[in-house]
């Protein structure tokens, strides 16, 4: 059997405003008990990859803590594991801090793995992709590089700023940016299967073309001279590429028809765990259409919300369409609508907070 290693590529320009001020997109809390990166890591784990490298772009502290030794995702077999690949040399040098340079710096990870193929996937595109299927198609096609895409009919709203592929049969002939001016596009999910030897050469080659070329640029540059195959993925995919998208996609999950596409049997989503007690609903609790993580204490009205671990909703508070992260406390009788509250914040004095247009953001640890 061919050996495959996974690489989670955290190099991207995606940010979520305040949520990513101190942490990378990958460790932003999502759906109450996950980090954004849990989905791609779970897909890799469920696809039976046991060696995974994470290309870290910046702000690694929360990520180191979240990932630990990787055994929450079952990457603890003694022959595999999670490697955190960080390129300290260019950490403060944005133009040079890209995935190609990170791969150059951490090339030993790939060389030592003795893998035949490398699967590269981003964290901010949420899918339930089985990479084993993609690898199988890649091997069968005899391609050196396979790019995964999804055919979407709402490219005017979703994946704006992502790349789309122009195809000739199953071959990628051009890679361009989706400007949102058409509905139907073959959107790149920034997920690739590349023969290890080809990847090693590609990295060298990229540096020769331009020191500022990242993997995306390099593949776009190469697609007319090298054969790049396209693989169509038809499953669930959402691109969380902005603060707004983070809120919208989170809220979309409250719909059972959406969340059952991701939380399905045989495809567990793993995360690290915290031994938090069950959620306690007190006598004044009135909760509807919400996701609630463990450890919360709820004594108010909650509708259309995502509550993370250890959130406290005080007596008779009203909270609607909000995302409240770990450990934040909402005082009794407060009224919140359309608000994102970061971790460990307390809503005490300003008891009426209503987000107009985009959701209002309360910073980590703030008292308002």
């Amino acid at each position: 059997m061919a050996k495959v290693v996974g690489i989670v590529n955290l190099h991207s320009d995606v940010t979520y405003k305040g949520l990513t001020e101190k942490r990378p997109v990958a460790s932003v809390s999502f759906l109450g008990r996950y980090g954004i990166i849990d989905f791609v890591l779970s897909n890799m784990s469920n696809s039976n990859l046991d060696t995974v490298g994470v290309l870290i772009k910046e702000k690694p502290r929360s990520l180191f803590k979240h990932l630990g030794n990787g055994n929450s995702w079952n990457f603890n077999s003694k022959s595999g594991g999670v490697s955190l690949l960080y390129n300290e040399k260019y950490a403060n040098n944005p133009m040079y801090n890209h995935d190609i340079n990170n791969l150059v710096e951490n090339m030993e990870f790939i060389q030592k793995s003795k893998a035949d193929y490398v699967v590269i996937a981003p964290a901010h595109i949420i899918t339930t992709m089985n990479y084993a299927d993609v690898v199988e198609a890649h091997v069968k096609s005899g391609a050196e590089i396979t790019m995964v895409y999804q055919k979407i009919a709402n490219a005017n709203e979703a994946f704006v700023g992502s790349d789309y592929l122009k195809l000739k049969g199953k071959q990628v002939v051009e890679i361009k940016k989706n400007k949102g001016n058409r509905k139907e596009r073959n959107i790149s999910l920034e997920t690739y299967v590349i023969n290890t030897k080809v990847l090693l050469k590609l990295v060298d080659y990229a540096k020769k073309i331009s020191s500022f070329f990242d993997l995306k640029d390099t593949l776009a540059y190469l697609c007319d001279e090298r054969e790049i195959k396209a693989y169509e993925y038809r499953g669930f995919a959402r691109c969380i590429d902005s603060y707004d998208a983070y809120y919208k996609v989170s809220m979309e999950f409250l719909d059972m028809d959406v969340n059952t596409q991701v939380f399905k049997s045989g495809w567990p989503i793993f995360t690290n765990t915290n031994d938090t007690p069950p959620t306690k609903y007190l006598k004044n609790a009135k909760v509807k259409k919400s996701f609630v993580a463990n450890g919360a204490i709820v004594d108010g009205e909650v509708e259309g919300c995502i509550l993370s671990r250890n959130v406290v909703i005080g007596k008779n508070a009203v909270v609607k369409n909000c995302i409240i992260l770990n450990g934040s406390k909402v005082s009794p009788n407060a009224h919140l609508e359309n608000v994102i509250i970061d971790k460990d914040a307390r809503i005490e004095k300003k008891k009426e907070l209503i987000g107009e247009g985009e959701p209002l953001y309360v910073k980590e640890g703030d008292v308002v």
Binding site: L31, G32, R33, L254, M256, N259, F263, P268, I269, F270, T273, N274, D275, P277, P278, T279, K280, Y281, L282, K283, N284, A285, K286, V287, K288, K289, S290, F291, V292, A293, N294, G295, I297, V302, I306, N310
Partner: protein, 375 residues
Amino acid sequence: MGKEIVAMILAGGRGTRLEALTAKVAKPAVYFGGKYRIIDFPLSNCANSGIDVVGVLTQYESVLLGTYVGAGSKWGLDGNNSLAAILPARERGEVGATWYAGTADAIYQNISFLDQYDPEYVLILSGDHIYKMDYADMLAAHKAKGADLTVAVLNVSLKEASRFGIMNTNKDGTIYEFEEKPAKPKSTLASMGIYIFTYKELRKYLIQDAKDENSKHDFGMNIIPSMLNDGKTLYAYEFAGYWKDVGTVESLWQANMDLLDDKELDLYNIKKDWKIYTEDTLSKPQIIGEEACIKHSLVTQGCIVNGDVEGSVLFNNVYIGEGAKVVDSVLMPGVLVEEGAEVYKSIVDEGVVIKAKAVINKEAKEVELVSDNSR
């Protein structure tokens, strides 16, 4: 250098009064409080008290319990200097195959395990009590008093005292007499089954007790009386806090209900940082549907609630259908309450399906244990 203290958890009991709940699992492995098993409490107390070598003595249905405890990683006891060791009744070289004949005999049969760590003190615990306790405080008291044995006691009401082993004490807290379930109690200090022994003394008394053919090999009935007889220093350490022996279906239900009231056991570390560690299951957050109504309840991850839940404890992956009503009940993992069904004052065992429109225990006088799908 030996360990200062090693804990031994007696986890071999069947708990027959828990009826079907212990048909296939030992009592310490019974589910409690929405996501725990009973043994999580003494194990977490050990971990939080800085006790890092814990022996777990198993006998009845030891496989599930042994797998659950594993090497102790769930409680952070799997480091280089720490360990949770499963000590089942077993075949041993010098004596052949034996069962644990009593609480003292169980420890006696594991003297070689204890000797290996050469502890100064041994903490004996029961695997089936619900409480949070800092054993380090109790050890400090044991040392300060220069006791040979310290017994943790709870001040119960005079009415309840006849159900417990009662320690009769002098003013200075030393024990002069032990009475098992006295008809006319002289004191209300009930033994919690938590002992700290100075190991040198414990070892001596266990060996002596093992030779006595008339002994029941029980701490309460044999070891404590002989130590009192010999004039050893036995000291009662009074514990003020929530403690419950969940030996019956009724008391297990009550202990779960106690969690709903803020004044009882503090699982949320509001007063003190003292987490109860357990197995975290792989489940999504709980999903509360559009028509749901949840009040005065504990609900854990993986649950999907579309109906009414009041005064209840829901373990992971419980499903409540639309129009269903669950009142004053404990629903173990994976219970499915179908549309329009009603459940009152019940403990519903793991994986049981309550059929659509079924009504369980509407009179709600006694606690009902629902352990099969027949209804």
